[in-house]
Symmetry: C2
Subunit: 196 residues, 2 copies
Amino acid sequence: MVTTTKDRILEEAAKLFTEKGYEATSVQDIAQALGLSKAALYHHFRSKEEILYEISLKALWGLVRAGEEAMAHPDPEEALLRFMEAHARYFEENYPFFVTMLQGIKSLSPENRAATNELRDRHEANLRNILRRGVEAGAFRPVDVALAGRAVLSLLNWMIRWFRPGSPKRAVEFARAYHDLILRGLKDGDPGAQGA
Amino acid sequence: MVTTTKDRILEEAAKLFTEKGYEATSVQDIAQALGLSKAALYHHFRSKEEILYEISLKALWGLVRAGEEAMAHPDPEEALLRFMEAHARYFEENYPFFVTMLQGIKSLSPENRAATNELRDRHEANLRNILRRGVEAGAFRPVDVALAGRAVLSLLNWMIRWFRPGSPKRAVEFARAYHDLILRGLKDGDPGAQGA
DNA sequence: GTCTATATGGTGATAGAC
DNA sequence: GTCTATCACCATATAGAC
């Protein structure tokens, strides 16, 4: 598993895009961080946007794959938990790629954005399938699965706004807490184990 | 209620920042959209960042005020509903200001960001107060109010990523659906009224 | 309060040598 | 596959006239 120059560029670019944002990061910034010239970068990528696109695609493919492994579990409640854990774990373990993907999509050209949207939609469709199975099996209330799916992704994706890697509590632990919250709600009579 | 040139600049800038992002929008873009010269803008604002800062402050003040009116209701469950409705309504009715604030904060200087963070934290503290009151009154389970508050804000704030103003369904309706979901959860025995 | 003109420097991207 | 040098352009911001 050698690391090619191309991969090193993607890693460093994702890190900088995450820290400063895609538009605020120059090709010069990336080259300098790697000890390369700008021209060297343009040997590996045709444009700055192509770097962003490759980062986004990689992140989305990994996310979709992680979600599809998780959703295989037959029990809907357990499948939902695993899906949420997988999403959070992938987020934390691929932090720069994930964050760049999630906040860089609006900077992509229409063609490239269409490709990323397809993967994003597939991930969301997978989540809805879990919810639909759960409703049909009677494990969940007859909720609007589009709305509930959006809610779950909101909880998980908003983590890019407050979670920082290296924090004592892992992202996957927050995913579990969210799973508990979204399953039982605020009003559930069962006292539960969480304190304030 | 006359509209000053300064206000017109803020309105137009917020619109463009929302559409293209702060970094990708030039002062030239704003001036051109208003039929003014760049120099005219610099008569009203000392820098591009000052425009972003004033937009963000206005949006946050309005949001905090809306939340504080809503949280006054004595019943925690109703206060939470009103808080969520107020947040969503403010979002939709002040769409460009709200979106610019929420996605422009990372472009602010440390000093300006500290000022906006204070207001953001106050809004979140208000939400936690509602939740704490509910837990103490027995209306809610003994949940982690920090986690639950973050969850509620995740649901509401992530709306900037999928909700578009002018859609047939109002933002406040999604807020009500989220309130129902977060209160009862996915597993609650009560069948409820929402279909798939 | 708005204009034209300009200062100053960075941007994405390329040419061509090695 | 990497370099130096450069192109053409646009950025934020300011000077000074009206």
